[in-house]
């Protein structure tokens, strides 16, 4: 019997140094799949490699040998002795392997639960495997089911809801204040990766004009050019506050660059239109007292971190629902997988033919009332003989091919040809 085996390591089992060493680039993945197809005991294979995980998914008739081969191969190609990464490896087979694949693609196993990238990465890995023809009947079905499950988890649970990065959290808050960010004017004070990222997100949300204030005007000009905005001098901030709606501050200044009174006087000119201060700087740039003014909202880096922490908790709660969806899918897949054996297939094939024969006999005999009991028995015997004769060759064929090599392709074709699995369920 062919078994599904998964061997891999991820951010939970291996430190980043080790993951770096073992990661496969796109070309390396393709090459590895080519190499693996030379091993006769490995029938199908998909290799997934991301910055957080390396997973080798395969089907094999000889589990220990397959695991051994995979380890040796990694050791050989990455030039690391097996002993150095063996402890970080996990090996799942059968139902556990199926569940693991479903969980990984649904982002239940990710470092940040619910992150959307992993599904795309798995789709790429599968594409490579299909191009290299290392994915066959079982893995094709498994991965299609995997993508289906991942989509279901994403759409039916809140696992991907709510921001888990500082800049996205700020954007979400902005939406709760302004409704839409469209045409909202933005002022960036200072510079820094996180602040610039937030501005980029805002621009992507079609925010309005961008102003950039920097201690060195030249740097300000540079940034303004990047955001297609306008550079202003630090002294002009108060003036600028009269029109901007969102202020993102990230300077290295030792004290507050904006205090309560400054903003209070501006609010009057603004006719109390709301203004949202995002203070990413440490030490802080924006006086937290400003938050007590009407229609002014101040969030500093710690506030945003708290928001993210709560969002992560929410996602983890939603993940429980995701696990339930995965469990359901595992049961469904296992049913199909178990039916792949030679004997169950022959049994269901026979059952199907006999059922057809039986119902046709009933139909025919109903209109032939003048038949004697003997006639009826004779007709029944004839149909039974026909069923046996028709089944003889396929049965022999399936049994012969089932005894060695990869029988799953024959079985799968048989099952499809006679529609033995009720595919309407999918």
């Amino acid at each position: 019997m062919i078994e599904i085996v998964l061997l891999g390591l991820n951010h939970k089992t291996a430190p980043v140094e080790l993951r770096e060493c073992l990661a496969f680039t796109g070309e390396q993945t393709a090459a590895a799949l080519d190499d693996f197809s030379n091993y006769p005991h490995l029938s199908e294979m998909v290799l997934v490699s991301t910055c957080n995980r390396v997973e080798i998914l395969m089907t094999t008739s000889d589990r220990p040998l397959a695991i051994q081969t995979a380890k040796q191969y990694i050791s050989g190609i990455k030039q690391i002795p097996v002993s150095e990464f063996e402890n970080a490896l996990y090996v799942h087979s059968g139902e556990d392997a199926i569940r693991h694949v479903f969980r990984v693609a649904s982002s239940l196993d990710s470092m940040v639960v619910g992150e959307p990238q992993i599904l795309g990465q798995m789709k790429d890995a599968y594409l490579t495997a299909t191009q290299k023809k290392t994915s066959g009947v079982i893995l094709n079905r498994l991965l299609h089911k995997t993508f289906f499950v991942a989509k279901r988890v994403r759409s039916e649970t809140g696992i991907g809801d709510h921001a888990v990065s500082i800049s996205y959290a700020a954007i979400e808050l902005g939406r709760k204040i302004f409704g839409t960010l469209e045409d909202k004017k933005v002022l960036l004070v200072g510079a820094g990766e996180m602040a610039e990222l937030a501005v980029e997100h805002l621009i992507r949300n079609r925010s309005g004009a961008v102003f950039v204030a920097n201690r060195t005007f030249e740097r300000g000009l540079e940034l303004a050019k990047r955001f297609k905005g306008r550079a202003i001098r630090i002294e002009e901030i108060s003036e600028c506050l009269k029109e901007v709606d969102i202020v993102i501050s990230s300077t290295g200044a030792p004290g507050f660059i904006l205090n309560r009174d400054q903003v209070k006087s501006v609010m009057r000119v603004r006719k109390n239109r709301p203004v949202f201060f995002i203070d990413i700087a440490v030490p802080r740039d924006i006086d937290p007292e400003i938050n007590s003014l009407g229609n002014a909202y101040v969030y500093d880096i710690d506030d945003l971190k708290n928001v993210i922490d709560e969002n992560i908790e929410d996602r983890n709660r939603e993940a429980v629902k995701g696990e339930r969806i995965v469990d359901e899918a595992v049961i469904q897949f296992r049913k199909w997988y178990e039916s792949l054996g030679v004997v169950p297939t022959i049994v269901s094939l026979r059952a199907k033919l006999e059922q057809i024969a039986e119902s046709e006999i009933q139909k025919t005999l109903q209109s032939l009332k003048h038949f004697s009991e003997d006639d009826r028995v004779a007709i029944q015997r004839m149909t039974q003989a026909m069923v046996n004769k028709i089944l003889h060759d396929p049965t022999v064929y399936l049994k012969r091919h089932g005894s060695y090599g990869d029988q799953s392709i024959h079985i799968d074709v048989t099952r499809r040809l006679f529609n033995l699995d009720d595919d309407s369920q999918e």
Partner: protein, 273 residues
């Protein structure tokens, strides 16, 4: 007739239950079903009031029982309209239970089959009553929105992701919708007061008789006028506007009920029971 109103009250209660569970469970289907039930209740209510109007030629506000029923009808009607315009579904969790409450109060109160009074047939009076009732229903919605605004503003200011933070829309939407309700209510109240004065002139020969109801109505009008004026000139929006909308509605309730119960005046018939 009374049976229809009991059925309508039941539907309002059902819709309230739906909206309240929507508030907690956040299932969109709940909100949609509740909306359909509400519209059904409103249509039933409209038919009942219309039938009454057809029979007597009067707007049925002859006692407190009828006045409350009328208030519930305008409230649900204005909410359905606002839903159409602003899609502020969560407001249903405020507006529909309020409607139900008013309906239940109306059902409990005894119904004196009042005989028609002279002068009640005037076009001005019909107009006066309708405009005031619909206007006050709009103020009720503005008050509800104000309460929601305060919840949401508090959640954002205190940085606590409370129960309401997720469930409520943006501050901007709440503020804009509340303001729209106030403008609509104010316009209707103005029309209502004007037609009232005209009616008074026709019946009693004077515009103003310094009736307590008239005085309190003028106070209500001034509060909302101030709110709108301040918003346009110095930008009273957000928290301040929300609080004022709530205070304004309290005054509306006092004008509607309190004046009749505690003070005397020629609107007395209205709250007789």
């Amino acid at each position: 007739m009374e049976k229809v109103l009991i059925g309508v009250t039941f539907l309002y209660l059902l819709s309230s239950a739906g909206y309240l569970s929507y508030l907690f469970l956040q299932k969109n289907a709940l909100q949609r079903i509740s909306g359909v039930i509400l519209v059904a209740a409103f249509l039933g209510h409209t038919a009942a009031l219309g039938y009454n109007f057809f029979l007597s030629g009067l707007i049925p506000v002859r006692d407190l029982h009828e006045a409350l029923s009328m208030a519930a009808w305008t409230l649900s009607g204005v909410y359905i309209l606002s839903l159409h315009r602003f899609k502020l579904k969560i407001l249903g969790a405020f507006a529909v239970p309020l409607t139900s409450l008013v309906m239940v109060a109306s059902a409990i109160l005894p119904h004196a089959s009042a005989q028609a009074q002279t002068g009640f047939h005037s076009f001005w009076l019909v107009f006066h009553i309708l405009a005031v009732f619909v206007g006050e229903a709009a103020f009720a919605l503005a008050c509800g929105i104000g309460i929601l605004y305060l919840f949401q503003e508090n959640a954002i200011k205190t940085k606590k992701r409370s129960f309401f933070y997720r469930r409520l829309p943006s501050l901007d939407l709440l503020d804009a919708t509340g303001y729209a309700c106030i403008v609509a209510g104010f316009t209707l109240l103005t029309i209502g007061l004007a037609t009232g004065f005209i009616y008074a002139k026709l019946i009693w020969g004077r515009f103003l008789s310094w009736d307590p109801k008239e005085i309190w109505s003028a106070i209500t009008w001034l509060i909302y006028a101030a709110l709108i004026h301040e918003r346009l000139t110095v930008g009273w929006r957000g928290r301040k506007a929300a609080i004022l909308a709530i205070i304004g509605f309290c005054v509306v309730i006092f004008t509607f009920l309190g004046v009749n119960l505690f003070l005397k005046g020629h609107h007395g018939v209205f709250t007789r029971w």
